[in-house]
């Protein structure tokens, strides 16, 4: 009688995207925050265009990482506000499908943010791209990275929302977990931007894919233990 795993997933994604659309003022604040972060990096490091060009990928990912912490805790504030997630789980929806839906919605949100930040990065740090294919490759790296952030991020946000000092706890739990992801994403981004004479990009991309597989699988398996007492 209950919805299938896939139908639940679709319902949750639709619901989350609808809420994002309704609260788009919040969304634009998030965009503003990440653009401001990119600007701050360039101020903090001085206006040396070569340094900025060399580290553009790093700044981009730091901006995305900080923004994702805010986005993730917002996503679960909505769920916790009236215990709405609890009502969803009581239907009884499959918690694993709920996880996939929320993680997917978060990833899409971060992808949108990334797609907005990439042109900012190109302009601010004077990075050139040759043609649309190059831009597409860059976007693919961003997509792999934000999906690898969203999978553990969604799960840990669900935990920290229900703990004390949740705003502090989420980055404490999330950052060390994401350092390897960040490392791979930054390296891959830099190689895509600056060219890849040694053919190293493939290694870093495979690493990102591997993180995605592991984190999404773990999240899928473990999320029921997080929300179901």
């Amino acid at each position: 009688m209950n919805a299938t795993l896939f139908a639940t997933l679709v319902a949750i994604v639709k619901k989350d995207l609808l809420i994002e659309w309704r609260t788009r003022a919040r969304l634009s604040a998030l965009v503003f925050f990440s653009v401001a972060a990119l600007l701050m990096f360039s101020f903090a490091l001085g206006a040396d265009i070569q340094t900025m060009r060399d580290h553009a990928g790093g700044y981009l990912w730091l901006g995305l990482l900080f923004a994702s912490v805010l986005a993730l805790s917002e996503a679960f504030r909505v769920e916790a506000e009236n215990r709405a997630l609890e009502a969803v789980l009581l239907t009884p929806a499959d918690a694993r499908a709920v996880y996939l839906g929320k993680a997917l919605a978060n990833a899409l949100l971060l992808l949108l943010l990334g797609a907005l930040l990439v042109p900012m990065m190109l302009v601010l740090y004077d990075v050139g791209l040759d043609g649309p294919l190059h831009a597409l490759r860059l976007l693919a790296v961003v997509a792999l990275g934000v999906f690898a952030i969203s999978a553990p991020g969604t799960l840990l946000a669900a935990i920290s929302t229900n703990a004390k000092s949740k705003d502090l706890l989420l980055p404490v739990l999330l950052f060390p977990l994401l350092v390897p992801v960040l490392l791979a994403a930054v390296k891959a981004t830099a190689l895509v931007i600056a060219g890849d004479p040694m053919g190293d990009a493939f290694t870093w991309l495979s690493l990102l894919v591997a993180f995605n597989v592991v984190y999404w699988a773990l999240g899928f398996l473990l999320f029921p233990s997080v929300v179901d007492e």
Partner: protein, 226 residues
Amino acid sequence: MSAESTKRPLGQWLVLGTGVTLLGLGEYLGLFWAPPEMAMGDVMRIIYVHVPSGWLALVAFLSTAIFSGLYLRTKTPRYDHIADASAKTGTVFNAMSLATGMIWAKPTWGVWWSWDPRLSFTLIMFLLYVAYSALRRFVDDTESRARWAAVYGIFASVSLPLVYYSANWFRSLHQPHSTPQTVDASMKLPLRINAFAFLFLMIWFIWRRYELLRADAAHESTPPPA
């Protein structure tokens, strides 16, 4: 239950005794019996504390992951306590490995800290398990704490293969990780003995810590009279 935990079982004494004896022997052999290494000289002797503490940190964290999984499967509080005890003990070994590694780095590379992958990932692993302990402190409800810590303990264990293989995977200045196969026979012996010494001490630490946690939980798990 409290009487049980104040009277230490014989096995625990045996584990502690074995660990201490082996440690004494290993330290003697490592510091005085084994020859200095050809390229690095005497500074290589740091290996006898640095490497075993690194290994055993990995073993302890692996134990955290395993018992976290068992807890989620069975919801038996005992497994949660073992996972917690393992994580805390592993953190101590991890800190020791980092500190001795830094002492080694200074004379060898001229810096206290180099950002080579092995070292960086070991530091990240340390942060992960500090975060694990922080998470436990941020949750009041015993059942939620156990579930969430178990989930995090499993997530954190993704870093273990990264630490273990990082020296080989990424080009780095850290030598390929030392195992008894990669070092000379006369260094093998103290390294092996110290590794076992650390293993026994780790078991004792986890055991002892587990008893403390269980004693803490004992007076929590009995409801007041009706």
